[in-house]
């Protein structure tokens, strides 16, 4: 897989079916419903729980706003991922193009997905930092790989949107 920037588009090229499937799973992976730890993490308390009044107000007024924000980011990513659906040759490599104007939505959705997966599996800081761990031995290992793959995409998007690109026009990275 090669990820590169061309002007105002991030292009993920030579995307094999496995990585394409991980990308397709981003919207589904952001769903925290039914996973209490993930819900608690995405909608954390703004203050110590003893401040009951503020916590209650936050639930009523702020949390719905946050839900809308997260939902909007996920919908943008879902729309960008559409070209990966219904391919004529499902086992062939493919290319995904992400408009740079959608970078914030991608960063948000990828972060939602990473936090939800990490909460579901209770990954420790040690596991999340162990990039040499042999992947895909179990569902848990696959999920850890998924978290790290999404993190790699976040790093590239950040580099391209945060002044990290040296030539300002195009750059690339490989995985």
């Amino acid at each position: 897989m090669e990820i590169r920037r061309h002007e105002e588009v991030l292009e993920i090229a030579e995307l094999d079916p496995f990585l394409a499937e991980l990308l397709r799973q981003i919207p589904e992976s952001t769903k925290a419903e039914g996973v209490e730890a993930a819900e608690r993490r995405l909608f954390s308390l703004p203050i110590d729980a003893s401040e009951a009044e503020l916590c209650a107000e936050w639930k009523i007024y702020v949390e719905p706003e946050l839900r809308r924000l997260f939902q909007s980011a996920t919908e943008t990513v879902t729309a960008d991922l559409k070209p990966l659906n219904g391919k004529a040759k499902p086992f062939a490599n493919c290319t995904l193009r992400i408009p740079l104007k959608n970078a914030d939505a991608w960063l948000n959705a990828l972060n939602q997905a990473r936090l939800v997966i990490a909460s579901k599996f209770g990954f420790t800081e040690g596991e999340l930092c162990d990039h040499y761990r042999s992947p895909l031995g179990s569902r848990r290992d696959l999920s850890l790989f998924q978290v790290n793959f999404y993190g790699f995409l976040q790093e590239f998007i950040l580099q391209e949107t945060n002044g990290g690109s040296s030539n300002g026009g195009s750059s690339s990275a490989e995985i």
């Binding site: 954390s44 946050l66 948000n108």
Partner: protein, 101 residues
């Protein structure tokens, strides 16, 4: 020294009335807590975006979060602090509002 002291003790309400709302509402701080999932570069970007920090200042706070487990990123009026916490939650950072001790 005697006269001002006597005046203050005799009419303590005067001092309360002259305090501005701002002074009463001042001791609040926004604290960001460590989170093993959020990327260091992402946290730095969020600090720059939400608080307008320079990259150096944002990285300083990010490293404080990473090493110390928490960093006070802003202090001031409660209403503003709530708004910042909301923005940080919108970026999925673990942030809370605390009274300044």
């Amino acid at each position: 020294m005697d006269a001002p002291f006597a005046a203050a003790t005799e009419s303590p309400l005067v001092e309360q009335e002259t305090r501005s709302k701002e002074a009463v509402d001042l001791p609040w701080q926004v604290v960001v807590h460590n989170d093993p999932v959020n990327l260091m570069t992402y946290v730095t970007m969020v600090f720059q975006k939400v608080f307008g920090f320079t990259r150096e200042k944002a990285e300083k706070h990010m490293l404080e979060v990473h090493r110390e487990g928490r960093s006070i990123v802003w202090s001031g009026l409660r209403e503003r602090a709530e708004l910042y916490v909301q923005q940080l939650h919108g970026h999925l950072l673990l942030a809370t509002l605390e009274r300044t001790n």
